[in-house]
């Protein structure tokens, strides 16, 4: 198996989950209703659990321990897309990000369930069951709010328009793309994107929201190769804050 290709894919998957997990956790105490504090917190926990499982796979392939990999790298060494690092903003943005992201993740892990790399396939089959709940949650709220007051519809539409270019960054290919597909590790970003578009359209069509023409949008790329927004490094510093008080300690 092509290890470089495999690791490249695993880093992208793990970093996305790790960073969005942290962002989701910031909704504690701030949600519009208590149920949403809890929902975002649950999804955050799941996502951190997912990233840990993926870092463990990397560890088995010779990379450092999960805690070291997750909490000691700096922004340029991260492979997450820029979508996940944006601050939580208002609820409409976080909801739309969650909707666009989790549809992609569910489809991604469904496909990975067939991966030629069996350890990854096993993890993927496990995570799929949890992700189903995330998508269910996103769909429920997008359908509810997306067909309610003018105010809510306008907010969601604005967030959708703003977020879609970042969401397209989820499907940014790396130089390993061909190898990943050729080895049967993953179906590839283009195939995933096609499934994703169909999947989100099916939900949006049940709301008053308009899906912009994806062809004319410019995807926000760069995250997969270490180019990030100004928001990532401060989050990473926060994540490492306690470790840095005494780097010799076991925390």
């Amino acid at each position: 198996m092509n290890q470089a290709a495999l690791k490249n894919l695993l880093y992208r998957l793990a970093d996305d989950q790790l960073i969005l997990g942290h962002r989701n956790s910031e909704w504690n105490g701030l949600g519009p209703i208590l149920e949403e504090d809890i929902a975002f917190s649950s999804m955050a926990q799941d996502k951190l659990g997912h990233s840990l499982q993926l870092y463990l796979l990397l560890n088995q392939l010779g990379e450092a321990e999960p805690d070291t990999v997750a909490f000691t790298r700096n922004a340029p060494q991260f492979h997450c897309c820029q979508l996940v690092e944006l601050p939580i903003g208002e609820y409409d943005f976080s909801l739309i990000r969650h909707f666009l992201y989790d549809h992609a993740e569910l489809l991604r892990f469904e496909a990975l369930g067939q991966s030629s790399y069996e350890p990854l396939a096993q993890v993927a089959r496990k995570l799929k069951g949890e992700l189903k709940y995330h998508v269910l949650h996103a769909n429920t709220w997008v359908k509810r709010l997306g067909s309610s007051t003018e105010e809510a519809i306008a907010r969601l539409q604005q967030s959708l328009d703003y977020t879609l270019p970042y969401a397209l960054g989820l499907f940014e290919k790396t130089e390993q793309e061909e190898a990943i597909i050729a080895e049967g590790i993953f179906i590839g970003e283009d195939a995933l994107k096609a499934r994703w578009e169909e999947s989100i359209r099916a939900i949006l069509s049940q709301t008053a929201l308009q899906m912009p023409d994806l062809q004319i949008l410019t995807p926000v790329y760069g995250g997969r190769t270490g180019e990030h927004t100004e928001f990532l490094q401060p989050l990473l510093d926060e994540m490492a804050e306690v470790f840095r008080l005494d780097p010799t300690a076991d925390w």
Binding site: E35, I38, A39, S41, S42, M43, Q45, D46, K47, L48, G49, H50, L52, Q53, Q122, V123, R125, K126, L127, G129, E130, K132, Y133, L136, H137
Partner: protein
């Protein structure tokens, strides 16, 4: 002093009985065996015991404590060499919760997870039975409860919220 047991004096059913003592840290009436996270116990030639476990939810912080409790209980029964293998080979789902476990959950005030066939359709969440009054006149409030494994429901009959161990 506890006698040191070896593979010749203990067998799998005995070990499983011992493991009944290990409970879910947040649901003190449910053993790990009944929860379905202990998938197998293998006696090893060197007298050690290998316990094969699979996590419920990948982000569940209780898994860590469950592992340690398994070790502690087996040590207490004189098994010196305990090995734990966490694997996703046979991923956990709620159909693995035993009948005994379901009953324990209900008595604890948690609606047990509905059993499903092969593919889980989440519409099943709408049909929870209230663990307090057995009414099916209930509705799901949110698929995310206080812990990862629960959804929140409301019973129109006895007018209170209840939690369900949610199907996965």
């Amino acid at each position: 002093m506890t006698p040191i047991l070896t593979a010749t004096t203990m067998d799998k059913p005995t070990i499983l009985t011992w493991l009944e003592e290990v409970k879910d840290p947040e649901i003190p009436v449910l053993s790990l065996v009944d929860l379905g996270v202990i998938r197998d116990v293998v006696l090893q030639e060197n007298g050690g015991v290998l316990v094969k476990m699979t996590p419920t939810f990948s982000g569940c912080p209780a898994m860590d404590y469950m592992q340690r409790d398994v070790e502690r209980v087996l040590h207490a029964h004189g098994v010196e060499n305990v090995q734990i293998e966490m694997s996703f080979e046979e991923p956990w789902n709620t159909n693995m919760v035993s009948e005994k476990g379901r009953l324990a959950l209900k008595n604890f005030g948690l609606a047990p997870p509905p059993v499903y066939n092969q593919v889980l359709d989440l519409d099943i969440l709408e049909y929870a039975t209230c663990p307090y009054c057995n009414s099916q006149n209930t509705e799901m409030r949110t698929p995310f409860g206080a812990t990862l494994c629960r959804s929140m429901h409301y019973c129109h009959n006895c007018r209170q919220m209840f939690e369900q161990f949610k199907p996965v």
